[in-house]
Symmetry: C2
Subunit: 166 residues, 2 copies
DNA sequence: TATTGTTATACTCTATAACTATA
DNA sequence: TATAGTTATAGAGTATAACAATA
């Protein structure tokens, strides 16, 4: 067991407050851009972007749910919305009939293409414009480390699925 | 006008992805802790914490709304919830009868006290445990800079209040 | 019996617009 | 006329639990 201090240092507090503030302001700005440019919520964009990166532009619901921090029913809900808009298709997996495979359609890829440039521009102007290359290096290294730690951390908010205590 | 590159560097991408991942995982974990320890949402915690820091443990609705990124009606909603639980009081301001002043009650301060230790512990274990003192310094500096920039940026999602175009 | 995904449902949160009251 | 805040309302999103189908 590692002992936990009862308080944070002033610098830790500053880092935390700055982090939450950047997180909040950046998320709002990005969500607005995604909504204006493609009518997408952040989650929907993330799902489409993951599909766009996936081999064959397809992925199983469960694999998507593990990446995004969502309940399965929430993912079903979002997948329905995307399917209704024709941005993805849902088909049963040939390998395992229980699984549903989401596939990005041409229309989905087109919406992604509509949205990407503005997304990148927003990130550049809001986040990266004021940071030096060294700052970005540091940020990537430090936050990458933190992300690794958090990902491995037990208190996952979206636990894979509860296991019986027996 | 500053020219905007059409894409991000690989390091910028890594920094961005790490940032969003940390943001998402940390927020979920912190929200769970606040809910379990004090039945508070993150917004409610933030409001109570701001009142706790404010002189006289009191603040006007508008001043709170400017800090938190919320619509006025959303703030009214949250203030009602907090008042119903007896954690704050709402009284008209003596200076300006249009204003409402929120004041933290003893019960509110008590809930804050219940919640703080676990909040700090969560931050320490999830975020700071793996970071060196230098890393925290860098993080505070870099994100502080980004926060300053974002705060000053025109596309505020919660604009103070729309002004007539005339 | 465990796993994948869907459905039904209820709840929280947020924003817009209309409204009241005060400056 | 402008500002502070509330109310009414409607919509998006999320999670839990029960369920059906497959492994």
């Amino acid at each position: 067991m590692t002992e936990t201090p009862a308080s944070l240092t002033p610098t830790q507090l500053r880092a935390y407050f700055a982090f939450t503030e950047v997180s909040s302001l950046l998320k709002h700005a990005v969500e607005k851009q995604l909504r204006d440019a493609g009518g997408l919520s952040y989650v929907q964009f993330e799902l489409l972007a993951r599909l766009g990166d996936a081999p064959g532009a397809r992925a199983r619901m469960t694999d998507l749910a593990d990446g995004v921090v969502y309940s399965r029913s929430g993912l079903t809900y979002q997948a329905q919305l995307l399917e209704q808009r024709g941005l993805v298709t849902r088909t049963p997996s040939p390998d395992d009939e229980r699984s549903t495979v989401l596939t990005l359609t041409d229309a989905g890829r087109s919406v992604l293409a509509d949205v990407f440039p503005g997304h990148i521009e927003a990130l550049h102007q809001l986040l990266f414009a004021t940071l030096s290359a060294d700052d970005v290096d540091d940020l990537a290294r430090i936050l990458g480390q933190a992300a690794d730690h958090l990902r491995a951390s037990p208190p996952r908010s979206a636990a894979p699925r509860r296991r019986k205590a027996s």
